[in-house]
Amino acid sequence: MSKLPSPSSALMQSKPISYEDGIATIEFIAPESFKSLRGVVQGGLIGGFMDEIMGNAVLGESEGKLLPLNLDMNMSYIKPVPMGRLIGKGKVVKIGRNVAFIEAELFDPEGKLLVRSSTTAMLTEVP
């Protein structure tokens, strides 16, 4: 039995919007529990959104069959991420038999780019 959506995606109120032309689009509401000392989303927790977006890109690309098991994740923090509604877009750059290279971007509701990420992941079957 599939465990999708997972507890972590519920916490981020993830809402997959579409998978079109190789782009996964997903909405989030950053919860207050993610707030840092500076009043914006804590940098590591931003990784929660990026991970979710990249997972959705692999799900879309594999027609719901595969999920990434991340080996690494690199994030560039372009602007602080405010609490509240956010939009993520992700795509699979290259998918092999065992490994995928995935990228994601996070935007505010006005479409301003906040964060970019890339990851190298092993591919596993959806549990």
Binding site: S33, M50, N74
Partner: protein, 140 residues
């Protein structure tokens, strides 16, 4: 090895730290090193039933940042420009230990690193980050 009159004792923990179950174990303000325990829980799981990568990054982030904070007695705080995380082993709910330190710094930039271990001392994940150094904002 606590610090007398530690910044972390004098200030309330931010929400993200509370979410992660942040608990200061030791700090070395001279060398910019900290050891912190975290308590990831069942709300942070991915479909595989292990802690989702972002929360692993969050624990590493909340280990690296305090390393700079302790070094400057809370006068400075890092604004992360980039962070690179390597995931070695799955992380499960329970107690995990973060060790973070300031590798190098200039007036404006800090290079930080952290490692995350399970209770048996197995290395689970590591991270490095480059951060802009900001003055600590006023905390309510």
């Amino acid at each position: 090895v606590g610090v007398k009159d530690s910044f972390f004792d004098r200030h309330p923990a931010p929400s993200a730290a509370i979410t992660l179950g942040w608990e200061l174990l030791s700090e070395d303000s001279v060398n910019g090193r900290v050891e912190i325990a975290f308590h990831p829980n069942d709300t942070m799981l991915n479909p595989r039933g292990t802690v989702q990568g972002g929360f692993i990054a969050a624990m590493l982030d909340d280990t690296m940042g305090p390393a700079l904070v302790t070094m400057t007695d809370g006068k400075e705080v890092p604004a992360t420009l980039d962070m690179n995380v390597s995931f070695f082993k799955p992380v499960v709910p329970g107690r995990v230990i973060g060790k973070g330190w300031v590798k190098s710094r200039t007036r404006t930039t800090a290079f930080l690193t952290a490692e995350l271990f399970d209770a048996e001392g197995n290395l689970l994940a590591s991270a490095t980050s480059t951060a802009k150094i900001l003055q600590m904002p006023k905390v309510n």
